[in-house]
């Protein structure tokens, strides 16, 4: 309860601001409609109208919530193409689109994390890699991914790789970076004294790595994974934008903006946020279990 209160207060403030913003944002359209119909719009009517438009500039929170509900449960349960009627996910449901994006995210995250850890191990153990890899890793993150994504897709397409893999690679491109930075710091976390101690035992490099560096890096790894998974999701969504993808949250965002479907845009955004929060939460649980078992939890 003590932790819930501040969180709920912040949510309440955000919702209040959101509602307050809906009225001026959508007022123009309501006034135009009223003028066209030749009726006078009272203040209450204006507020009610701005919170319930079909295509508002800024949809109200409850509209987004309703849209989310309709494009998930209602669509799958009762929709003509829903899970209950056809046995497969409906291509009009956010569950389907969310899964398309999530699968690319998870694959990209796995590739990015693996690559990040490998690079970090190399950087920590090899002086040449230490000097050469890090500048490139940093440079890679200064290129706008939106500019790079189409090129990656086109190049991979030319060599016959399509579908999930190109999206996952763009995901990995964004998510490997926090893992490299965090793991380099983590693998270097042991103090000189700890390394001296292992030297007095004449421990090998491998023993030093597995008994000291790797366990010492765990807190850093989990912190990086949380950043990395969020970056991986952004990467997967961005990868769907320039490719004319027909499925995925990115595709929903793009289609929504083509047709002025703000509700669709916002519900896709909220779905992405929910997925990100869920994945970060899962990593948090894994962190608590792992560090708890290692006796490192506070």
């Amino acid at each position: 309860m003590r932790t819930a209160f501040p969180v709920l207060s912040v949510v309440a403030v955000i919702l209040a601001l959101w509602y307050a913003a809906c009225v001026p944002m959508n007022a123009q359209w309501a006034r135009d409609q009223a003028a066209r119909a030749g009726v006078e719009l009272s203040a209450t009517a204006l507020v009610t109208d701005t919170l319930a438009q079909q295509r508002p500039r800024l949809p109200a929170p409850h509209q987004v919530a309703a849209e989310l509900w309709n494009t998930t449960w209602v669509e799958e349960r009762h929709g003509r193409r829903g899970l209950w009627n056809t046995g497969t996910l409906s291509n009009r449901s956010l569950i389907y689109h969310g899964w398309v994006t999530l699968s690319a995210t998870l694959l990209g995250f796995a590739i990015g994390t693996g690559l990040g850890i490998l690079l970090a191990v190399g950087i920590v153990h090899n002086r040449a890699m230490d000097l050469s890899v890090m500048p490139w890793a940093i440079a890679s993150q200064t290129i706008p991914i939106l500019a790079l994504a189409p090129m990656i897709i086109v190049v991979l397409n030319a060599v016959g790789i399509t579908g999930l893999i190109p999206k996952a690679i763009i995901s990995a491109y964004l998510s490997f970076f926090p893992v490299v930075v965090g793991m380099v710091k983590g693998l270097r976390a042991p103090e000189a004294m700890q390394l001296d101690l292992l030297k007095t035992y004449s421990a090998s490099e491998a023993q030093t790595f597995f008994r000291l560096r790797l366990p010492a890096s765990m807190p850093y790894l989990f912190a990086s994974l949380k950043v990395g998974i969020a970056a991986a999701l952004v990467g997967a969504i961005v990868a769907e934008l320039p490719t004319g993808a027909v499925a995925g949250l990115g595709a929903r965002l793009l289609a929504g903006s083509y047709f002025g479907q703000t509700l669709q845009i916002w519900s896709a955004l909220v779905a992405a946020a929910i997925i990100a929060a869920g994945m970060v939460g899962l990593i948090g649980i894994a962190q608590r279990i792992t560090l708890g078992r290692m006796g490192m939890a506070r």
């Binding site: 004294m193 101690l197 035992y201 004449s202 000291l212 366990p215 765990m218 006796g295 490192m296």
Partner: protein, 262 residues
């Protein structure tokens, strides 16, 4: 003690110069020292006098610039590989992700002791430092003094006959330090190990040692080596006897003489 026995540590005209950003630092200058088997040798002096550096040279953690050093008749590197010594650092440096028993088992795992033997050795080492019963605790659950005792157990676990200790009780309060000093003496009696002990406390050095090496800085060198006349069996209140006070006085004089250079 037989005089014919080979010295455990033998340093001759040992020099070590560190190259630093603003010039050379003469950490050790012409250090001659012989440590016999079963000795408890303390190194005392102000910071920068090379006492820790000397211990690190013995442990093959630093390379001398010139001169010779033999440990158990071997080069320090060979002695390290032959597991000739256990090293206790200023901080306990236990792994937070290992239990106390796990920490003491660490060197045994690295050195490849079989499981059952390692278990018995861990139990014996913990018994020596009176930590039996704390096997399953994590380091953060123990006081600073107990952590340092666990780190001594870790250095004892593989039964090296030399124990090198670098200000092991420096970070502890006086009361805990007294107690650990007493325990260390008992442990030394019990095991007959040769101990090299760095400290900056005069009473600690006099109370523990059979020989006290007084050092001074810039350049780091030995100014006096004192053979302690105190008996090997020492209760804590030996520190109030005239003999003790006389030795402490001589150490203080040696330290002052070293300082008069600058």
């Amino acid at each position: 003690m037989s005089a014919a026995e080979a010295p455990v540590i033998e340093a001759q005209r040992l020099n070590l110069v560190f190259e630093t950003g603003d010039g050379q630092v003469h950490a050790l200058k012409d250090v001659d020292l012989t440590v016999r088997k079963g000795d408890f040798v303390s190194f005392i002096g102000p910071s920068g006098c090379g006492k820790t550096t000397f211990l690190r040279v013995v442990a093959d953690l630093e390379q001398p610039t010139s001169g010779s050093i033999r440990v158990n008749g071997m080069s320090p590197e060979a002695a390290r590989k032959a597991r000739a010594y256990g090293y206790v650092f200023q901080a306990a440096g236990l792994y937070p992700w290992r239990t106390i028993a796990g920490n003491v088992r660490l060197p045994l795992e690295i050195m490849g002791y079989p499981r059952a033997d390692a278990g018995a050795r861990v139990a014996r080492a913990l018994e020596l430092v009176e930590l039996t019963g704390f096997e399953k605790k994590y380091p953060w659950q123990l006081s600073g003094g107990m952590q340092q005792r666990a780190s001594i157990a870790r250095a004892l676990a593989f039964d090296a006959d030399i124990l090198l200790m670098d200000e092991p009780f420096g970070a502890l309060d006086e009361i805990v330090r007294d107690r650990l000093n007493e325990e260390l003496l008992r442990l030394w009696h019990h095991t007959g190990k040769t101990i090299g002990f760095v400290t900056h406390s005069i009473p600690e050095a006099v109370y523990l040692s059979t020989r006290i090496v007084v050092m001074s800085p810039r350049p780091g060198r030995i100014t006096d080596i004192i053979e302690s006349p105190l008996p090997r069996d020492r209760p804590l209140d030996i520190r109030d006897t005239p003999e003790f006070i006389a030795v402490a006085h001589r150490v203080r004089e040696g330290l002052r003489a070293g300082h008069s250079y600058d």
